[in-house]
Amino acid sequence: MNSPSHATAFATDAVVTASAASDFVAAPELPDILPPVKVRRGLVGFLWRHPAIAIGGALVATMLLIALLAPWLGTVDPTTVAPARRIREPSAAFWFGTDMLGRDIYSRVLYGARVSLGVGFFVALLASLAGLAIGLVSGFLRWADGFVMRVMDGVMSIPPILLAIALMALTRGSVGNVITAITIAEIPRVSRLVRSVVLSLREQPYVDAAVAAGTRTVTILLRHILPNTVAPMTVQATYVCASAMIVEAILSFIGAGTPPTIPSWGNIMAEGRALWQVKPYIVFFPAIFLSVTVLAVNLLGDGLRDALDPRMKKRL
């Protein structure tokens, strides 16, 4: 922009204006018709411009606080069985009522947030790391690409919930195994995304330059390719997190997930299944928490997508 010709043109302009000023009466100052534009900066401005991130983030933060502070939010031990007060409707003493074993549903739902958020977070983290490794290798090493992608195509052809069910049928129910099973089902999708990003990045001139300069492949991958996958990966990770929370609830709901001794939203709903026509509140309280949490994570993901890649905004 700062070409010499520009600078010259500007200088002549200034001279003309200066000489004209002495001959003519100065124009009256224009009234300030434009309202002052208030540009919000910093975090507040960012959240103001991206309401989806603000709302989603606030809801996720609330759920996180609920999960962390569960013992101090007026809960009792979520596993205490009390047959004397079975199936009580919601009341002042039992905000969300009690289940068939007399356990306090409010406490169970609050503690259940730990399982859902934990599974969502760890699946997102592990699937992202594994998918990143596979996608980077497959996208950059031509000879590995064909084989790796055929394997991923095959694994992707197995509906993820069925794959997770099959894995859970072969292991003992535990939160760790649920996380592993859902992660395995999610890896192919993440790998495909990373691979497509890498494929477009490797055509960039700066990668060619690095290759020409004799940079080792590992260094190119880590220093030039990896940082550019962070934005799409972050967005993808939130979607994986949302999907993992739903799959965890589904697995627990059909009896193939978290062991029944651990309160999780899916487990509470599974226990309320037999009674739902007469006591629908047992199913509805965990259902509301699950839906709101997943919605919040999805909103956060959509907001991040728009913020990190404005070109995508108009598309999906």
């Binding site: 055929r150 394997v151 195509d153 095959g154 694994v155 052809s157 197995i158 509906p159 993820p160 919930i161 069925l162 794959l163 069910i165 099959a166 894995l167 859970m168 049928a169 072969l170 292991t171 003992r172 195994n177 949302a242 739903i246 609830a249 589904i250 709901f253 059909i254 009896g255 193939a256 709903m269 299944r273 739902w276 026509q277 629908p280 199913v283 509805f284 259902a287 699950l290 839906s291 997943v294 919605l295 999805n298 909103l299 959509d302 108009k314 598309r315 999906l316």
Partner: protein
């Protein structure tokens, strides 16, 4: 063209091989001793050995895999540990409700999602568009069993318009059959509708910017004609692709929907098999539905040339 069809059909063979190998390997990559887990906590060592033998875990991996593939090629999906019936027979007995549910959901979802996606693209960045896209995010977020319970509670228990649960076979009449499937199909369709509507909107937005749309408008073709005849036809390929990919959502969601609405289909069979730790049944179901998924997507790939004559192979 024929050349392409043959090549495309042959290309599914390695995918199916990977599916089979992966489903088979699950028994071997699972941590711990799968025979002991399948046998259950009360099993005697003799029970565990019997299960190990019936799962073929006592023989080398490759030998067992070869036998297993040979069996599958002959239509034998294994034998249930619990009922001793062939898995293929058990699936055949339960497949009608599941296929019915999936078919009704598919028809419902496509006939709802495509028009609302088109409208969202037409009214892009207006309140209508925002509303539809907000509903789509909601559709992605509310799990299928939550929608299921909500629908059953409102429309079956409170309003008493439709049956709460159960299934009636198609041969007993169209309405009794359909009546039981409406609520499950809506519940199962939500995610699918959201997915198809989003892709329809995105593709339509691109197509609507093309020159031939301006030409059509200049010729005086009405808005409906432009949207549904000129634009939608050219947006068909990505929409049909996502309909095919979304079948995986339907298959997974059907398991849960059947549990909520007490439909005696493959979903119920799966849940029963989980409770009984009847692994051969689960393996058979996973394999069969993965193959169905691959075949559906093969069919869609072959349909592309019909949908868009510009695509030549």
């Amino acid at each position: 063209m024929l050349n392409y069809v043959v090549r495309r059909i042959l290309a599914t063979i390695p995918v199916m091989a990977v599916v089979a190998l992966f489903v088979f390997s699950l028994l071997y990559i699972a941590p711990g001793d799968p025979a002991a887990i399948v046998a259950g906590d009360q099993a005697t060592p003799a029970d565990v050995e019997r299960i190990r033998e019936s799962l073929g875990l006592d023989r080398p991996f490759l030998v067992r895999f070869g036998e297993w593939v040979w069996q599958i090629l002959h239509g034998d999906l294994g034998t249930s540990i619990f009922t001793n019936l062939p898995v293929a027979t058990m699936i055949a007995q339960r497949i009608e409700p599941t296929l019915s549910l999936m078919a009704v959901t598919l028809i419902l979802a496509v006939s709802v999602a495509v028009p609302i996606g088109v409208v969202a693209a037409w009214k892009a960045d207006t309140l209508i568009d925002r509303g539809i896209m907000a509903l789509a995010v909601l559709g992605f977020s509310v799990p299928v069993f939550v929608v299921g319970y909500l629908l059953a509670y409102v429309f079956a228990l409170e309003l008493d318009w439709l049956p709460v649960q159960g299934y009636t076979q198609l041969r007993e009449g169209l309405w009794p059959w359909l009546e039981n499937l409406i609520l499950p199909a809506i519940a199962l369709g939500c995610v699918y509708i959201a997915l198809i509507a989003r892709v329809t909107r995105a593709t339509m937005l691109e197509v609507l910017q093309q020159d031939y749309i301006r030409t059509a408008r200049a010729k005086g073709i009405g808005q409906g004609g432009i949207l549904f005849l000129h634009a939608l036809k050219n947006a068909a390929v990505p929409i049909v692709t996502v309909i095919g990919i979304g079948i995986a959502l339907l298959i997974g969601g059907a398991v849960v929907t059947e549990t909520v609405f007490a439909i005696p289909g493959i979903g119920r069979l799966t849940v029963d098999a989980i409770l009984r730790r009847d692994y051969p049944v689960i393996q058979g179901i996973v394999l069969l539905f993965s193959f169905i998924y691959v075949l559906v997507n093969l069919l869609i790939d072959l349909l592309y040339t019909l949908l868009d004559p510009r695509i030549r192979y």
